[in-house]
Amino acid sequence: MLIILIGVSLFAFLLSYATGDPTTLLLSPNATQAEIEAFRKHIGLDQPVWIQYGRFVYNILQGEFPRSLTYNQDSFSLLLERLPATLLLVFSSMALAIFVSFPLGLFLAWRRTSWYTPALMSLTIIGYSTPIYWEAIILVLIFSITLGLLPPSGYGSFKHLILPAFAIATQQAALLVRMIWGSAVEVLNTDYVLTVRAKGVSEFAVLLKHVLPNCMIPVVTILGLQFAGLMGNAIMAEVIFAWPGVARLTVQAIFYRDYPLVQACVIFMAFIFVIANLTVDVAYGILDPRVRYK
């Protein structure tokens, strides 16, 4: 985990170093050479690369993130400002996806031989083959422009949340249904499920108490691996729906070559990723007693 964060910091630094000189973008075109030099000195670009990196890491360890060039603010506080919006979006779409996919996946595994199971499973392929930016546009067309029910973009009320959360959730739910289905089908074929059924336990209790806990482990693993994909979708959704979150800030920073802000965003995202993976590890312990007793 530590290695990842060190690697990411180096990567973030080199990446923004490679984006080129930000001075030409930030200063007016008729700035004199002396002004350019002064500005370069001001943001530390006149130093050798390794000194810049050393200073960069040192500052971060001191809790001091580089100042954003476009906002002229501490980039960390900028990120914190945008964080609640992103968390709201990601968590509500995850909740929606889990709420839909768990019952559906379990049900389809239970009714594996029904005629509608292959049809619904094919539907999930359509679900994750649809690019989120197109889905978002279609949602806006239907619900905002034609029906006039929901705002096409923005942030503030519950109504603003529905479309972006739904767009992210469909992708996630489609993947989750497939994972849960695959894992639950295996569990349903095990001897212990046969035993539980032979005891006369109701089918509902079999699914909820015996199948669900046992099919969670592979699902959680893949959920952890899919986290970067989820963030990728969140980026697109935030851009399309003008959602004032971390991801949109990152994209803007890349476009404006606001490299201190890009660095902060990249490290921040990696940090979130590390936390997500830690959560997965903790979840193993909760879900699988064997891990706990080791």
């Binding site: 546009i137 963030m231 994209v251």
Partner: protein, 293 residues
């Protein structure tokens, strides 16, 4: 003697066809992919001038929608260009980017993964740490940063997609190599004195090819999605080249008045990716049902 071999071969071929047609996902996937390939190849013949502008006919609706249509099957865009023609030409870009980037990513990723898998040690450690670091980022973000740095062009977009996806090939081939190198036939090859290179190429590679082929198929789909996402964000192949993502982004500005401008290019992306995913899933069902990518 010869006859039995021929018969056996015929039987084998017939069995393969039967398995193919029984896997509906694979059949539908191949049909969709063939359609996309077909329109990409035929684009210059059917619609030689996709960039022909006609401002008089700008934002004409599709021929079957409303009276004001001007003979455009799927309508026209803000510059009066035929959307269907541009979708045809856009297929070329998507297929080119998808196949080239997967080809390059696998050429880089597979040798790295196999070497890490067979030698282990420091090479393995370094490679896997790079992979861990890279997997901490969303593909789109990394590709966006690379293209923003290097400037939007066809080569740079392919480069960005290769950089974001080679890790997946490396990881998968490493994991498969770790399994195969312990098996008795590899041991056998080593026992008769085969060189490491020979073992890598003739013993291990054929035996880890199946999951890699499936991953490669699915990656073509995600490469197409990444390319369109970059175009959509304004960092795609610069105009006037027709790209699906670019058309989607242009059309989005006229969403209020002309829904067809962004609906159909997006539909094309979806159909292409769907076809590829169906093919990948179908292949997995036939070749390696237990595989999870």
């Amino acid at each position: 003697m010869d006859e039995t071999i021929v018969l056996r071969k015929k039987h084998h071929l017939r069995a393969m066809w039967r398995t193919y047609f029984r896997t509906k996902e694979l059949v539908i996937g191949t049909i969709l992919v063939s359609i996309i390939l077909g329109i990409a190849v035929l684009a210059p013949i059917i619609t030689p001038f996709p960039d022909k502008q006609n401002l008089v006919y700008r934002l004409s609706p599709p021929i079957w929608y409303g009276e004001r249509s001007n003979g455009f099957l799927l309508g026209s865009d803000a510059l009066g260009r035929d959307i269907l023609a541009r979708i045809f030409w856009g297929a070329q870009v998507s297929i080119l980017v998808g196949s080239t980037s997967v080809f390059l990513a696998s050429i880089i990723g597979i040798p790295f993964g196999m070497i890490a898998g067979i030698f282990g040690g420091n090479i393995d450690n370094i490679l896997m740490r790079i992979a861990d670091i890279q997997l901490a980022f969303p593909d789109v973000l990394l590709a966006l940063a690379i293209v923003a740095t290097t400037g939007p062009s066809l080569q740079n977009i392919i480069l960005a997609i290769v950089i974001t996806s080679w890790v997946k090939f490396a990881r998968l081939s490493r994991a498969s190599t770790l399994v195969v190198k312990e098996l008795t036939y590899t041991e056998g090859a080593r026992a008769i004195g085969a060189s490491t290179l020979h073992i890598l190429l003739r013993t291990i590679l054929p035996n880890i090819a199946t999951p890699l082929i499936i991953l490669g198929t699915l990656q073509v789909g995600s490469a197409i999605i990444t390319e369109s996402a970059l175009s959509f964000l304004g960092l795609g192949i610069p105009p006037p080249t027709s790209t699906w993502g670019g058309m989607l982004a242009e059309g989005r500005e006229y969403l209020m008045v002309a829904w067809w401008t962004s609906t159909f290019p997006g539909l094309a992306i979806m159909v292409a990716v769907l076809g590829i995913n169906l093919m990948g899933n179908g292949l997995r069902q036939i070749l390696d049902p237990k595989l999870n990518i």
